[in-house]
């Protein structure tokens, strides 16, 4: 008999303060990573304060660790926030479906992330960068409310180093600082100005609902992306991650099992319950 709710303990290898309230936590189990695929998520907990759902934010190909990024917002996340390097985090997973890279191979890729939504994007993006030769042109567009809210500031340059890879970072109007050299504008607006074509391309979009809504529209209507080539993730509230607790379903779909990754086409067929 196996207790599916029993977590494993992972050790915190490193904590990266991304913004004032967001951190990336790098974990290891037995000195290495676990098997997961980009887009999947896990249930993480500081034991005693409750479990929370986070997507993995690192590339599964980087075997020495696995990562997630979180914003401190409630009881569980505040608990996790208080941990230090060397402390243990309880972890269950990986759960859910994933970004199907077989359908992305050989194509141009557009990664669009907004705010904390960049976390799951980073995972698939770095995965593709790790196997850079398998894909065509890669465009990365990442935006946040203000410069202070940008995650992963330290590694933008790393992404840029890859061949045929464009990295565009933007902040919402008003969120710029005097020394800001990136773009200023909402993600969907900046996206619209990019010379992207829908053919032979796949777009991966994650972020706040409003951003997703407009980004999908631009990609579809202005750039001619096929709906099945626009991929995003849902973040419905979930507890078990195992398709039992009854919280995450959208229509007949269990986001924890059948998701969290969906194409725009799939989303279209779902009732407006997310």
């Amino acid at each position: 008999m196996e207790n599916i709710y029993l977590p494993k303990l992972a050790e915190i290898k490193e904590i990266i303060q991304e913004t004032a309230d967001t951190k990336t936590i790098r974990l290891t189990i037995d000195g290495g990573s676990i098997d997961f695929l980009p887009g999947q998520f896990g249930e993480f907990s500081f034991i005693g304060e409750g479990e929370s759902t986070f997507g993995f934010s690192s590339s599964p190909l980087r075997k020495e660790y696995f990562e997630f990024s979180f914003r401190s917002s409630g009881r569980a996340t505040t608990g996790i926030n208080s941990l230090n390097q060397g402390d243990k985090i309880a972890f269950r997973g990986p759960y859910g479906n994933y970004f199907d890279t077989s359908k992305m191979k050989g194509k141009d890729l557009v990664f669009v992330g907004g705010g904390i939504g960049m976390a799951p994007v980073k995972s698939i993006m770095e995965y593709c960068l790790d196997e850079r030769d398998d894909y065509g042109k890669i465009t990365i567009l990442y935006g946040a409310r203000s410069v202070g809210d940008l995650l992963y500031k330290g590694i933008f340059d790393e992404w840029k180093k890859y061949k045929n890879t464009e990295v565009i970072i933007t902040v919402d109007p008003g969120g710029e600082t005097p020394d800001w050299t990136g773009k200023v504008g909402f993600v969907p607006t900046v996206l619209e100005q990019l010379p992207l074509k829908g053919e032979n391309s796949v777009a991966i979009v994650c972020g706040p609902p409003i951003m997703i809504k407009f980004a999908l529209k631009s990609l579809e209507e202005k750039m001619g992306f096929d709906k099945s080539n626009i991929i995003t993730t849902l973040e419905n509230r979930m507890k078990c991650g195992l398709g039992k607790c009854g919280r995450c379903n959208v229509g007949s779909v269990y986001v924890c099992k059948d998701g969290p990754v969906f194409t725009a086409k799939e989303l279209e067929s779902l009732p407006n319950d997310f």
Binding site: I15, Q17, S82, L83, D87
Partner: protein, 660 residues
């Protein structure tokens, strides 16, 4: 990420003698999140503080716990030290292991266990500390004084002399308050107008004082540093700046027999256009529209207009609303006298020669209705026998008020004294309950009245006064001799108790300050903050706070002034950041928080969407007013308000740390 440093102080042997400080340190080191644990002989010493500062730097600490003496001793010391290293000073918590452990317990093992617990509690608390910024409120350096009696005038003058602009609002046509109605004042018997008039004139002429008489405060909003005040300047019907105060108008007014003079407490009459008294400041008449024939008879009469040389009478003048912004307020609205009609047995109002103390002052006054001669209102004769009755209304929980009006013993003694001085061979009797004469020279003053001026003091209450053949028969008890006494008097003077000025409760509500059940404004702390109201930036002076005499009123006026000058000596008002904070997402606008807040710090806030549509109403904390007392937190059912520094989750964490 918590990176807590724990510092255990030995306090020489004060702590280390009873508490195993090393054990406390060892236990601290075991707590998750604690990255440094040290013990040291004297943490508060310079080397102690330096090591603390070094470790903050070295270990990049996010919080500090000192297991040491009471926070009341050194919390500030350590906070300052932490602040010097750039750590938010509120990230310092103290476990009191001296006053509340080592000094009160003897068993070392158990004392140590307790010290460990207290330390753990504070570690859990500090883990949940959020950065707190002290609140800075910019100050409009202008003051408002409400009420131009002696207290208000004193406050206004002191503030103005300190170089700060003052707005003085007086309801009546003239400033001066009650004091200018008095004749001579105890205990020195200097003439009230002689000392008051110059002050009134000074206030009027002071470049820093703007005087609004015949005016009232209509509305006040805002908070310390930034009160928005609406003042209603009632229509005088006289253009102030043109008026010379010559008196032609009131001399011309045909209405001179019909209107009772408020200033002379109904002992004389005034005209429809009038100045309340000859030394009024400003010396500009007011036209009382409720009695003026021009207004009552449809514009027929305009005798005053005709008489006025500069033609400054204008029947069409309207009330004016003036808006001012001030940084601080003095409330000095003074007092009224109790209505003694409930003492039917004393015949006040029924017998003309039963008068109040204030009326007697007017009879004594050289500028009064009798030009200083004591005459009976009934027949104008000089009374030979006067009975003074003290405590009419005061100290009488049944009919009047339970408190002592404080000035009556003294003014009655004064009255008896002045009566003896003015009417030779006269006799006065004083019925009293107790004699309260506690200030400098007061007891001597009363003794003098008895011994030199021959007043007969009878201890007891008067039971009945009635008229008989032109005499007032006063029946009462002399409880000292045990005899019933009956005195045939020519006049009876009732020392009526004082009560807050009518409408002071309304004003208090407008100001958001608290007042007691009688309507006297309550001080923020009766002993330590006697000049402050419960609301920051609003100060109190004079009788409005409770019974007091002139010297005390002056002192309190000056006290309020000095508080304001002190406040204004900085450009910003700084409040500790440990104030309440509303969770707008869950607040349901029940406003229980507002009901219990003694500082009026909670107001309603409307949250609107971009199109201006009201989404919801929530509670809003005014940082300038909130004291962080936390009463609101208890009142909130849905736990939508919390006090920084003592957040619910911190308290719960402390309890959790104690779990057995």
């Amino acid at each position: 990420m918590s990176r807590i440093g724990v510092f255990v102080c030995w306090c020489g042997s004060n702590i280390a003698g009873t508490v195993d400080v090393e054990k406390v340190r060892e236990e601290a080191a075991k707590i998750p999140g604690v990255v440094s644990a040290l013990d040291y002989k004297y943490m508060c010493s310079d080397p102690g503080q330096n090591s603390l500062r070094n470790i903050i730097k070295e270990k990049n600490l996010t919080g500090i716990v000192l297991a040491a003496c009471s926070p009341h001793m050194h919390e500030n010391t350590f906070r300052k030290a932490a602040a010097k290293e750039g750590l938010n000073p509120y990230f310092v918590e103290i476990a009191n292991i001296r006053e509340q452990v080592s000094w009160v317990h003897e068993d070392k093992e158990r004392a140590t266990a307790k010290a460990v617990d207290l330390m753990k509690m504070m570690v859990e608390k500090v883990k949940r500390d959020r950065p707190i910024e002290d609140v800075r409120v910019p100050l409009n350096k202008k003051a408002l004084v409400i009420g131009g009696g002696i207290a208000g005038i004193q406050a206004a003058l002191d503030i103005a002399n300190g170089g700060v602009e003052v707005i003085l609002v007086e309801k009546e046509p003239s400033i001066g308050g009650r004091m200018i109605q008095l004749d001579e004042t105890f205990p020195t018997l200097d003439c009230s107008s002689c000392i008051m008039t110059p002050k009134m004139v000074e206030a009027n002429q002071h470049p820093n004082i703007k005087l609004y008489t015949y005016s009232e405060v209509e509305d006040i909003s805002g908070y310390i540093g930034n009160f928005k005040v609406k003042i209603k300047k009632k229509a005088r019907s006289v253009v102030e700046k043109d008026c010379t105060g010559c008196g032609e108008c009131w001399n011309a007014c045909p209405m001179h027999k019909n209107v009772k003079s408020e200033f002379n407490v109904n002992l004389s009459e005034r005209t429809a256009i009038y100045v309340p008294f000859p030394q009024a400041v400003p010396l500009v008449p007011v036209l009382d529209r409720s009695v003026c024939l021009h207004f009552k008879k449809g514009g027929k009469c305009q005798k005053c207009y005709d008489a006025c040389g500069p033609k400054c009478i204008n029947f069409d003048l309207q009330d004016e609303i003036i808006e001012e912004t001030v940084g601080a307020i003095v409330a000095s609205t003074g007092y009224d006298l109790m209505d003694t009609s409930m003492y039917g047995e004393y015949g006040y109002g029924k017998y003309k020669d039963v008068i109040s103390g204030l009326q007697f002052e007017r009879l004594l006054s050289a500028s009064g209705p009798t030009e200083g001669l004591i005459k009976r209102p009934s027949d104008g004769k000089t009374p030979q026998t006067i009975v003074f009755v003290q405590c009419v209304g005061s100290r009488d929980p049944e009919k009047g008020v339970p408190y002592c009006s404080k000035v009556c013993c003294m003014y009655t003694a004064k009255h008896a004294k002045l009566f003896a001085h003015k009417v030779h061979g006269s006799q006065s009797y004083v019925f009293y309950i107790d004699i309260r004469s506690t200030s400098k020279g007061y007891e001597e003053f009363v003794r003098g009245t008895m011994e030199q001026d021959g007043a007969i003091y009878l201890r007891g209450r008067v039971s009945k006064i009635y008229e008989d053949e032109g005499k007032l028969i006063v029946k009462g008890a002399d409880t000292l001799s045990g005899n019933q006494v009956e005195i045939a008097a020519d006049m009876v003077v009732l020392a009526t108790g004082v009560i807050p000025k009518k409408g002071s409760d309304k004003l208090a509500q407008m100001l958001g300050i608290s007042y007691d059940k009688y309507g006297f404004f309550t001080e923020s702390h009766p002993k330590l903050r006697p000049a402050e109201s419960s609301t920051a930036g609003i100060f109190l002076a004079g009788m409005a706070q409770g019974p007091r005499d002139i010297p005390e009123s002056v002192v309190s006026g000056s006290a309020a002034a000095s508080k304001i000058l002190g406040l204004f000596s900085k450009n910003e008002y700084e409040v500790e950041g440990t104030i309440a904070n509303v969770n707008e997402a869950t607040c349901v606008a029940c406003f229980y928080c507002q009901r219990v807040c003694a500082y009026n710090a909670i107001s309603k806030k409307e949250i609107k969407d971009r199109s201006g549509k009201l989404i919801k109403v929530v509670a809003n904390v005014n940082p300038g007013l909130c004291t962080g007392c936390g009463a609101c937190v208890n009142a909130c059912f849905s736990k939508s308000i919390d006090v920084k520094g003592f957040m619910d989750d911190q308290i719960y964490a402390e309890i959790k740390a104690l779990a057995v």
